[in-house]
């Protein structure tokens, strides 16, 4: 496979590759992606990363407070002040994938699985966890909706 910047010389019997890093960058570079990344960085800089952090902290603290109210629910990891905007949890009697599916039906998009961290799931003897994440575009109303949907899970599986 060759093309673009990766070639130094082409002959009938073969080719000579360009020097590194160009030889690994065949074809059209990711121009739109690079411009998009710049726009995203500008957007976050305008918000202020400190404000992003404060908002995430507010949401994750509120979420953990509310999640702890739900009977049968276990949250994994440290307290709110020591974590980013993510909460992984399990629900007694309901499989993490079933929990995610029901939340989905309530318009709450979460992830279920190992979250690229299979060893720690094995360490805790868990087949998977359900993970809700909170970021700048989320609100406390949405956390309330998550909790409401979790009570529906409890109704079905509890």
């Amino acid at each position: 496979m060759g093309g673009g910047d990766m070639i130094r010389r082409v002959q009938l019997t073969g080719f000579v590759a360009n020097e590194s890093p160009h030889k690994f960058e065949a074809g059209t570079p990711a121009i739109a992606e690079a411009i998009g990344l710049g726009a995203a960085a500008d957007y976050l800089a305008a918000l202020g990363m400190e404000n992003v952090h404060i908002h995430e902290q507010e949401l994750v603290s509120y979420a953990m407070e509310r999640l702890e109210e739900v009977p049968g629910l276990t949250i994994y990891g440290p307290g709110a002040e020591e974590r980013g905007g993510v909460t992984s949890f399990t629900f007694e009697g309901a499989h993490p994938h079933d929990v995610a599916q029901i939340l989905d039906e309530y318009g709450v998009a979460v992830r279920a699985g190992h979250h690229c961290a299979m060893p720690i799931h094995e360490r805790f003897g868990l087949p998977a966890t359900t993970r809700a994440s909170y970021y700048i575009y989320n609100t406390t109303d949405e956390v309330d909706r998550l909790i409401e949907a979790l009570y529906r899970v409890k109704e079905l599986f509890g």
């Binding site: 499989h95 994938h97 079933d98 599916q101 029901i102 039906e105 087949p127 998977a128 079905l156 599986f157």
Partner: protein, 130 residues
Amino acid sequence: MDDLYREVIIDRYKNPHMRGELDPHDYSYHDDNPLCGDEVRIDVRVDDEDKVTEASFTGHGCAISMASADLLVESIIGKNLDEVKALSKEDILEMLGIELGPVRLKCALLSLKVLKAGVYGLESVEEELR
């Protein structure tokens, strides 16, 4: 709302009819789906005419995978092995009474995969090659 979690699925998940191990058995197979952690073993006993007299399953996983294992194992009692081998994806979906996307389809079909591997004798092949 909650279409995927029809009463029959939740009920079979909480109170399976066919859970257990058969020892001795004529056919047995075990497999898992490491990505989601679902695990199923199915044991089968047949009579002289290769008709299933008893069958059971063990394992763990989500409601869809466990309910489908329970319904599938129950459905093969009295069937002969050729009928078991002919079971299809559509038969499973009909038993569950739901439509599934590609991700959850894997949950629903794990038990069929295990059952077929069992009755086709994959276990004995694996032992032979060990």
